[in-house]
């Protein structure tokens, strides 16, 4: 017996080690709970590798900054002139857009529409990757102590360690993002493929999707704020069963990520109408449609308040505002190439709607692309001649930290 054991010792150990690992693997596969604590071995592995990654990332950034900020200043004057001209053009555009934004806000207020505001972001640097083609995730240099929570449009924060976090990219095959097409408003689920491509699934094959159409987050997954640009449609082909196979090119080059913004808090507030320009829906329509009778005189703010309070629709609005919820999630978007230092901590972001993923959060503009959201429209408000709520609804009192949710797998 001993001689047999001695003779096949290596094989027995091999079988034993393999059996132990397969058993461990089977246990992990069975436990697919999202709330499973991070395994100690992952903490050790990340803890032993990430300090070196941070040092290298810091050295690379410092060298790059030194070069770009002090040595390589060729063309700065020409660029300055070009930027000044761009500012002048944008100032003119801003006047037009602020008028449109005012109108959008008035309409949103009439519909008791709740906007999602990205109220806090954390700038993070990508310091490492999983190093595997089968696992498309990266590590960032911000972790639990920086307020990052698991949850997240380059990806979502999958695991949080003390000073680093693991981000599952949207092109990983286990990732899933609720998405919609910008013009056709068709909704689907964005998934990664084993080869690292991104496809939009669950769009019916009888729909027409043009190549080049932009894909935005739909907000339906409860993780990504609505309206962030994910990418553009590159190819559409008939897929399996009744669905189209829509290939999407991500807006951010996921293989060359350097810096990201992590959205750590999203507030949900009811739109606040501009009281100086309070107007009824019919008035707004009258500006646009020549067939509608000329607009009557707008009531004084005080009178409007009294009458609004007596309207059933207005009561409903007030109740909704009081009970408005604040949601919190951690979403990772790619940061635009920064011309200055990274904004850290609270960022005065206005709205995420329609903003590209590659935009810095504080440059995101408000837009009304989701003003017609059926889920946010109030039944009374849609049918009755609703007046604008005289008193602007307050933003959510205190943003709550909600439990982490995973994207649809």
């Amino acid at each position: 017996m001993e001689s047999v054991l001695g003779r096949y010792r290596n094989l027995i150990v091999l079988v034993g080690v393999l059996f132990a690992q397969i058993l461990g693997l089977a246990i992990q596969v069975k436990r697919t709970s999202d709330n499973e604590p991070t395994r100690l071995i992952r903490i050790w592995a990340v803890g032993s590798v990430s300090p070196f990654e941070k040092v290298l990332a810091w050295a690379q950034t410092s060298t790059g900054n030194l070069w770009h900020n002090y040595f390589y200043l060729r063309g700065v004057r020409a660029e300055n002139r070009s930027l000044k001209a761009q500012i002048e053009r944008m100032s003119l555009e801003q006047v037009r857009m602020s008028q449109d934004a005012d109108q959008a806000r008035r309409l949103q207020a009439l519909l008791a529409f709740k906007e999602q505001f990205i109220s806090q972001t954390v700038a993070a640097q990508v310091i490492g990757s999983s190093g595997s083609e089968q696992s498309r995730s990266v590590f960032i240099d911000q972790g639990e102590k920086n307020g990052i929570k698991t949850d997240g449009v380059v990806g979502k924060v999958l695991r949080v360690y003390r000073s680093t976090s693991e981000v599952l990219l949207i092109n990983d095959q286990t990732s899933g993002v609720g998405a919609l097409l910008e013009k056709t408003r068709l909704q689907g689920i964005l998934r990664g493929t084993p080869s690292g491509e991104v496809v939009l699934e669950k769009v019916m094959s009888d729909e027409t999707v043009p190549a080049g159409e932009q894909v935005l987050t739909s907000g339906g997954d409860g993780i990504f704020p609505k309206g962030l640009l994910v990418g553009a449609v590159t190819k559409v082909s008939p897929g399996s069963e009744l669905f189209l196979n829509i290939h999407v090119r991500p807006a951010a080059d996921l293989s060359k990520l350097e810096e990201v913004l992590v959205v750590t808090k999203i507030d949900e507030r009811q739109a606040e109408p501009d009281q100086t320009n309070a107007a009824r829906a019919v008035d707004i329509l009258a500006e646009r449609l020549p067939g509608v009778p000329s607009k009557p005189e707008v009531a004084a703010p005080g009178a409007a308040q009294g009458s609004a309070a007596s309207e059933p629709g207005a009561k409903a609005n007030a109740a909704k505002a009081a009970g408005s919820e604040a949601s919190s999630s951690t979403t990772v978007v790619k940061k635009a190439p920064a011309s200055g230092p990274l904004p850290t901590g609270s960022s005065p972001a206005k709205s995420s709607t329609g903003s590209p993923v590659g935009s810095a959060t504080n440059s995101i503009k408000a837009s009304g692309t989701n003003s017609g959201s059926p889920g946010s429209a109030k039944p009374g408000g849609a049918t009755a001649p609703v007046k604008a709520p005289a008193k602007p609804a307050k933003p959510a009192s205190q943003p709550q930290t909600q439990p982490v949710q995973d994207s649809p797998q």
């Binding site: 080690v17 290298l56 490492g128 089968q134 995730s137 695991r159 060359k256």
Partner: protein, 172 residues
């Protein structure tokens, strides 16, 4: 821990110092995680696998080979979001196989190392593929051209890595 550092079964058996035994696999895993960020094509390489083969063929001890491979694989698994054990099992098999083969073959010349690395790269990928699909349920596509091309690329890099390992290995 004689089993970890050497084996006395054959002549031409080498050992590695403790710092080399610990730091080289760690460096390989670290570079595998860091280099793809700067050079995305680097994901086709598997530095920890090359180190596993290099250690296994030099020590020529199946036990040391499978344990080294298993530990390096588990460390690599810990940096992915997949269940721990996928790389662990694959590299355990490769560590065992490479050291067993190293007992019987001359793996000192570059040509033999090149071929050995291609063979074990493919074995590694086959084992990984089978476990990932069969046990974990991942949707993976198998492409022979891709695997063979990656195998050749890894073998070329492997020849260089083995030359570096030759400089730190010590004759028993």
């Amino acid at each position: 821990m004689a089993i970890t550092y050497t084996s006395g079964e054959q002549v031409e058996v080498y050992r590695f110092s403790i710092p080399a035994t610990v730091l080289i696999p760690l460096a390989a895993v670290f570079l595998q995680a860091w280099l793809p960020l700067r050079f995305p094509f680097f994901t086709i390489f598997d530095l920890p696998l090359l180190v596993t083969i290099g250690f296994a063929t030099a020590r020529r001890s199946p036990l040391a080979g499978l344990l080294t491979g298993g530990l390096i694989g588990i460390l690599q698994d810990a940096l992915t979001h997949q269940p721990i054990g996928l790389y662990g099992i694959s590299k355990t098999v490769v560590g065992f196989g490479a050291s067993s083969l190293g007992i019987k073959l001359d793996v000192e010349n570059a040509g033999a190392r090149f071929l050995l690395t291609i063979v074990f790269y493919v074995i590694h990928e086959v084992v990984y593929f089978m476990i990932a699909r069969g046990l974990v349920g991942l949707h993976m596509a198998w492409s022979w051209p891709h695997e063979l091309l990656s195998g050749v690329a890894n073998a070329l890099l492997g020849v260089l890595v083995f030359m570096l390992l030759d400089r730190v290995k010590q004759r028993t």
